[in-house]
Symmetry: C2
């Protein structure tokens, strides 16, 4: 018997334990073309909150009673897909589960250069790839520029921060605790870090950013939304770039209701800033760009191996602990890339 | 004696006649490096409303008692700038005036391929150049795509519409009267035109756009803001592009106050759309790109000469009539490029 975690009901507001249920199941029969994968680790990420709502996000919502979705790695247990055999390590959207049955076409072999394997879910997986692609393709970083990075100790933000430092940018990180700011400064090498919880409103945070960047900022790597977006928009210089790959602060509130309206930043003000400062704003979802994944691994795996790019994993043991860890993630409790070891 | 129009006081809300005053002045002595230009035509454009506010827009505000700014053409009357001589036709930011004294470096000779000369203020001047640059550089139009263009009969919008048609796009124009829609359909060749005043709210307008574009739109050429932005954002397909070169509907309200908040589109909803639909939003100001102006003239002047690109001028005679014409422009009264013949 295997265990999996299903969406028991949809949250109204913050996600809670009651939204999830543990189910047990037996290994199903495979159809032609399928493989079964015994999951070793799955990833917990903020975007999963969006899948719990009925509103369509980048992907359709998880259906009630279905397994929660996640990127995961695991070992092939049985294969009816030509070209994959028992024992191979693969990455795929396997879900919050101990065993996953999936089309063989939908999994990828984990490159052998990725050691330990769990890095395929973090610094050398989707989050790291998101940071690398977003910064280089849309942030267009130039030496001497200034970048502000939200959630800077997270697996996306810390990749962006370190790549930006390697390219000679000044990095201002934003994080949600003093402990995270210490980490950003000491582990990831940012120039400055602001704990957004020490500022009572977006204006105070804006002023703090302007102290470190009196001439304004060139790039805002946006994965937070909310108060941080309000604070950063007035700091952006002419020809600035905003790279939008997430909005964690709005996931839990559902994001679309009137209650989610920010206080000081309205649409006309935002639009006027885009026009007057000639900004580029680019949203992206990394799954559109998998064809560049190997390029990313080739570029970044050596940097990880030589410790030029550092990472932090936060591994929770046991599938039953996933809901609680996920709720903590949305609150900002964890440090580093959150994984569940099944 | 010459006449000029100065900013007498700043508007609170809509601009009115009282904000302007006519002054007379004598031709001043030139310093070395200056030229005096006898203005033949100046242009009236929505962005000038922004210059009347104390808030910094792309450029500093017009100071109280100073001449209103405008792009204009005129003939050199006297020159103390080497390389320019009496009788040459030049373009420059000469203002709402009959005579302008300006640094010789700040005027440009009007290319001889521009006939009649007043086209240097319209279809072959800043507005046409804005449409050409914005569509090609940021709109990235591809055959078979669908574009929505605000203020489609204006000098920017009509350029965008005709270039898009020449490239095989489906064009949905938006205008502020049935008469303008007739013009868009019959003169500028758009596929569909919606009179936004026939829709009571943005949702009705959104539904009307979706009737003509059931699969969504690829490009939104944005020079309007307000209700139109609200209506268009939910229609944009994945990987859509929004080109922002103006926001006429917000100029008059000052744009930044809480009263300018749109009803149904808030920042989280807008931001979520940018992320989920992977949009590119690009603000620009054409004055950053003058180095490409000759390329534009070389590309588009032949199209204008052969009537493949059409234009419409609305020429007001007499400098004293400029304030009234400008107020009408902000209300959407005029048809075609509004010029004052001094």
């Amino acid at each position: 018997m295997f265990k999996r975690i299903v969406l028991a009901n949809r949250p109204t507001g913050d996600a809670t334990q009651e939204n999830f249920a543990v189910e047990t199941f037996e290994s199903p029969e495979l159809n032609d073309g399928q493989v079964s994968v015994r999951v070793s680790h799955f990833s917990l990420d903020p975007y999963m909150r969006g899948r719990m709502d009925e509103v369509r996000s980048y992907a359709p919502p998880v259906q009630l009673g279905h397994t929660m979705e996640a990127g995961a790695i695991g070992v092939i247990e049985e294969s009816r897909f030509p070209g994959l055999i028992k024992g191979q390590l693969v990455y795929g959207r396997l879900g919050w589960t101990q065993l996953s049955v999936i089309d063989g076409q939908q999994v990828q072999l984990v490159p052998e250069s990725i050691q330990p394997n769990s890095l395929a879910l973090g610094v050398l997986g989707m989050p790291g790839f998101t940071g690398w692609w977003g910064l280089l393709q849309y942030g267009l970083p130039r030496e001497g520029e200034t970048i502000v990075i939200g959630a800077v100790t997270g697996p996306v933000g810390s990749m962006v921060a370190q790549l930006a430092k390697l390219r000679g940018l000044r990095v201002i990180g934003i994080a949600g605790s003093d402990q995270k700011c210490d980490l950003a400064l000491n582990q990831f090498g940012v120039d400055h870090c602001l704990n957004h919880r020490s500022y009572s409103d977006s204006l105070e945070l804006e002023n703090a950013i302007k102290e470190y960047a009196p001439d304004g900022i060139d790039i805002y790597f946006e994965n937070v939304g909310g108060k941080l977006l309000e604070a950063v928009v007035p700091c952006i210089r002419e020809h600035g770039r905003i790279v939008v790959c997430g909005m964690i602060s709005w996931y839990n509130s559902g994001g679309l209701g009137a209650g989610a309206q920010t206080d000081s930043l309205n649409v006309p003000r935002l639009w006027r800033t885009i026009l007057v400062h000639k900004l580029s704003v680019k949203g992206f979802i990394i799954s559109d760009h998998w064809s560049h994944y190997e390029e990313f691994v080739a570029d970044v795996a050596p940097l990880v191996a030589t410790n030029a790019i550092k990472y932090l994993e936060d591994v929770v043991e046991g599938i039953e602990r996933a809901p609680n860890a996920f709720i903590g993630l949305l609150r900002g409790d964890n440090l580093g890339k959150l994984l569940v070891k099944v």
